[in-house]
């Protein structure tokens, strides 16, 4: 079984199929990625440079925007990826 699954070629995130330890290097599609943090099973890792505010892709579709600059190997989850939908909190501030 592969360590990660890259669902769509457009995706800048992959899903880890097993826990990946910080510092561990994994190889897929001919490239190497070193995890910058512990990544739990079925959580996501960046496989491209993603600037703050840019879209993150999974299934070939937008699943949210980066809240900080992301680098290949970064653990991507609620701490650095936010939804762009249903954000009543943002509407009231604007």
């Amino acid at each position: 079984m592969n360590a990660v699954i890259h669902i769509n070629e457009k995706d800048n995130l992959v899903t880890c199929l097993r826990p990946i330890a910080k510092g561990e290097t994994i190889e897929f599609e001919g490239k190497h990625y070193t995890a910058s943090a512990d990544i739990p099973k079925f959580h996501k890792m960046a496989v491209a440079e993603i600037k703050k505010g840019e879209h993150c892709y999974k299934y070939g579709e937008v699943i949210g925007a980066a809240t900080t600059d992301l680098h290949p190997g970064d653990y991507v989850h609620v701490h650095n990826l936010e939804s762009t939908r249903g954000r009543g909190d943002k509407h009231t501030k604007e």
Partner: protein, 388 residues
């Protein structure tokens, strides 16, 4: 064409179960209905929390849901129980259910003179119905008469990778054999609506669907709230889902690849004349969502869960499938099928899809699901606004 064995109803529909339903029209009648059901082995009641001091479309929704439950082909006979002064009136519900031709009686607590007399009257109706239902036997019918409800709950990233695509496979096959499926959970369409909308054949139905999705998102925005406070849930996030868009894009795989033939309101009946894949406007909360689809006529439910959930339905069998092998091993009482073998590479999607389809056939023919064997009967009616 796959043949099934079920209970033929007076209106030409087929049930895969033969329930005797004691149906309370309001929260005020719910306990009495439960006491009536307790007298008659096999009779079941539902814990209705609503049905009084609701207004407008919210009140109608409760009545439509209750009527839909009574009309569901899995129900052979119904005793409707009302208090008397409640917003949803027992006789009105009974009359609507009676249109199916099935036996229906009603009991009004204030009219008969209190709890004990209502139990006596209701139990007498129910006992006779139970004897009559016991004479019914299963007969052969075509799988095209089946309406399958598609649900997911306690999702994690394996749902979108394995269990939901497996459900999509089974749904495609059922629709291919002339049956109907219902995708639901409007909240869990946010972020994937453009992909689903493109599959609607009819422009008016497509617009209706997109309006449903916009209304849910607007509700969060109008409240000034971040949808993330409720969706994804804490468990979704712990499992690895970060945003509603990610959850939605995984959820939509349950709908397979067939075109959508229509968008239904909550609890709206699926047309017997126009079969195929439908969308129903339900909340992402599983119990209310399943209740709406069963009220719309679904005889069976397939439910995908990554985190694991015990949910059943009072009148429809619920087949549980997970894409997470750890969850399958951890909650063996609750999960019927493991699709985690797709992720590990031990099985192919079409193999597990065929396994699920066979399970649907067997359960329709009478085999108990794990939720049924444990007596799970979760029930909840969606609300549009607060109670007055």
């Amino acid at each position: 064409m796959t043949k099934l064995m079920g209970y033929k109803r007076e209106n030409g529909t087929y049930g895969v179960r033969n329930h005797l339903l004691i149906l309370p029209t309001s929260v005020c009648a719910a306990d009495t209905a439960e006491k009536i059901a307790a007298q008659i082995p096999g009779a079941i009641s539902v814990p209705n929390q609503h049905g009084c001091c609701q207004i407008g479309s919210d009140l109608s929704l409760t009545q439509e849901t209750l009527v839909g439950f009574g009309k569901n082909p899995n129900v052979g006979a119904v005793v409707v129980v009302g208090l008397g002064c409640d917003g949803v009136q027992a006789r009105s519900v009974a009359d609507e259910i009676r249109e199916t031709g099935k036996p229906v009686e009603s009991v009004v607590i204030q009219e008969v003179g209190g709890t004990l007399k209502a139990i006596a009257v209701g139990a007498e109706f129910a006992a006779k119905m139970a004897r009559d239902l016991s004479l019914q036997t299963r007969v052969e019918f075509d799988i095209s008469k089946i309406v399958l409800a598609l649900e997911c709950g306690g999702s994690d990233p394996t749902s979108g990778l394995a269990s939901n695509p497996t459900i999509g496979y089974a749904s495609n096959k059922l629709v291919g054999e002339g049956g109907s499926s219902i995708l639901s959970e409007t909240t869990e369409v946010i972020g994937a609506e453009h992909l689903l909308a493109a599959r609607f054949e009819d422009a008016a139905q497509r617009e209706k669907f997109l309006r449903m999705v916009k209304n849910v998102e607007d509700r969060a925005i109008m409240m000034g709230e971040d949808l993330r406070s409720g969706q994804p849930t804490p468990g979704n996030k712990e499992g690895g889902l970060s945003t509603i868009e990610e959850k939605s894009l995984g959820c939509m795989y349950k709908a397979g690849t067939r075109p959508f033939v229509g968008a239904l309101n909550y609890a709206e009946p699926v047309s017997a004349a126009k079969k195929g894949l439908y969308f129903m406007d339900t909340p992402g909360q599983d119990i209310d969502s399943i209740t709406g689809m069963v009220a719309g006529g679904a005889q069976i439910v397939v439910f995908s869960t990554g985190r694991g959930t015990p949910t059943g339905s009072p009148i429809a069998p619920v087949i549980k499938i997970t894409g997470n092998t750890d969850t399958f091993k951890k909650m063996p009482d609750n999960i019927d099928i493991n699709a985690g073998t797709i992720i590990s590479g031990e099985a192919k999607l079409n193999e597990v899809g065929e396994e699920l389809f066979r399970e649907i056939v067997e359960v329709c023919n009478g085999r108990q699901t794990k939720a049924e064997s444990l007596g799970h009967r979760e029930f909840g009616i969606y609300k549009l606004t607060g109670t007055f």
